[in-house]
Symmetry: C2
Subunit: 301 residues, 2 copies
């Protein structure tokens, strides 16, 4: 991997489901990030539309696209023009009745160099993702946790709910990921008090920073911000909490966005640090692979 990489994560409010307009606005922000020198740019989860999983509605599948659909067609030329590595997120129609929450990596003029289909799918009130997304395929040698080779290095892309699973981060690192990347869309339940909201935000930052610590590689997180109403008038809608961040390979915060504002957040990743940190804290030397078999179980009972 290059010795130093200027990286950016883009945190946005999405006002409606006009994908053409949304992708145009996002394109401008990508250009701003590139003007600031970013070579690796990460967009938030499902950035082309509002977060459509607030209710279960069969008509919403109209928002889905094939891998080569409007989102890719709009953004691939921009990545090529700017000569950047761009991580996009989209609602993928793989076939009639088969949809995924998919990230694509576009590497400048080389175009799409890999995709990642979200492996862990959440489902709770206002986040009805199990209705919309089939989990990523678990077959193949890497069981779906496959880093994507780019001109900047190997990227371990994971998406939102994946962020709570140390297993996912570990598998990406063991397969050679040099940085972990999380497009995400998470917010608060307005029914929770301020203390609970703070605990949830802290937990979310802590678990993702811990993946940097456990694996000795940087972590980039692009989260959505702003309020989006629910199609269900009785529901409170979602208030996404922003707080996108970039952490170094000891989990230290290099850049940290606000809660409520759109931001183009950048930081310099010192890739030589990973080699150093893995020398002083050689966790991979000592994993008890003879004793981890039960991790494949659902529960030990």
């Amino acid at each position: 991997m290059n010795k130093a990489i200027k990286a950016a994560v883009i945190q946005q409010k999405i006002p409606d489901n006009d994908k053409t307009v949304n992708l145009s606005v996002t394109s401008e922000k990508i250009k701003q990030a590139a003007e600031q020198g970013a070579k690796l740019i990460v967009l938030q989860e499902l950035h082309a539309s509002q977060y459509f999983c607030q209710t279960e509605d069969a008509d919403v599948f109209d928002l889905a696209e094939p891998l080569d659909g409007e989102t890719f067609q709009t953004l691939a030329p921009i990545a090529a023009e700017l000569d950047i590595v761009l991580v996009i997120s989209m609602f993928e129609k793989r076939s009639a009745g088969l949809y995924h929450n998919t990230a694509q990596v576009i590497d400048g003029k080389a175009g799409r160099v890999g995709i990642y289909r979200k492996m862990h799918i959440p489902d709770d009130p206002g986040y009805y993702e199990k209705y919309y997304f089939t989990p990523g395929d678990g077959d193949g040698e890497l069981n779906g946790f496959a880093p994507i080779q780019t001109s900047l290095g190997k990227l371990g892309i994971l998406v939102c709910w994946d962020q709570w699973y140390p297993e996912a981060a570990r598998l990406m690192a063991m397969a050679g990921a040099e940085v972990l990347i999380y497009p995400t869309a998470i917010g608060w339940d307005p029914a929770d008090d301020k203390d609970e909201q703070q605990r949830q935000l802290d937990a979310w930052m802590t678990i993702q920073r811990s993946h940097a610590v456990a694996n000795g590689i940087p972590v980039l997180v692009a989260n959505r911000t702003g309020h989006e109403d629910s199609p269900d008038d009785r529901a409170p809608g979602q208030t996404f909490w922003g707080n996108s961040f970039i952490a170094g390979c000891q989990g230290e915060l290099l850049a940290h966005a606000s809660e409520n504002n759109e931001e183009v957040l950048t930081a310099e990743l010192d890739m030589a640090r990973s080699e150093h940190v893995r020398r002083i804290w050689p966790y991979f030397r000592d994993r008890r692979v003879d004793a981890y078999g039960n991790l494949k179980k659902r529960w030990i009972d």
Copy 2:
């Protein structure tokens, strides 16, 4: 498990290797914790002596004891008298030429109810543990990651270097641990600058708090404090960084000790929170057990 448990972690300076005196001082601190209402009390790693792994010296094996040795003989009656669950840590002589870094759990009058032998053994300059300790056995149904049943609930005991491994915390939780407990002895390299020291301390707190987050259970950490000279005059000795803490099941800090002082740190664990938190963040529902097989590998290459 009981609905609420008052817990304590005891952070100490150890002035020399007079075990009888050290255990007597520790006994007084255990009594102080019990007077404050603590029913679950955790001691730091290898508390009966100074941290003896700063050099490799065959004579140091004289410090080791059998499970029923002086450490147990001194502390078991105190646990019985105070009717507490006490987690102690000792240099175990299992046989001639076979030693472990072992925690024991003493449950009031019931005496010893279980032991845990440190599974992941570190080794770096000033922490020559691979010379002294054989890793815990990995055979048996739980492969060494076996929670210990007590009158207060099931305790997932892990020791120091284990703290960097999400696999260890996960396996304990999956085997029913209701709280994670880390006796530890970690400090700074005085050759590092303040920024590096801060990154290391933050990483250490972050990874352990993340085990609470990932598994929805509280975490107790008892760390050593104070400076201990090395037998090797050319070595700087160890400056243990204290900062023992107690975190709730979302990783939130309930109590946090200073860097340099001896402390009896207490907090109330609300055990009903785990049930609630695992309902709102049901990570165990969605683990991709079909796709985690590579976690048993050393590396994926």
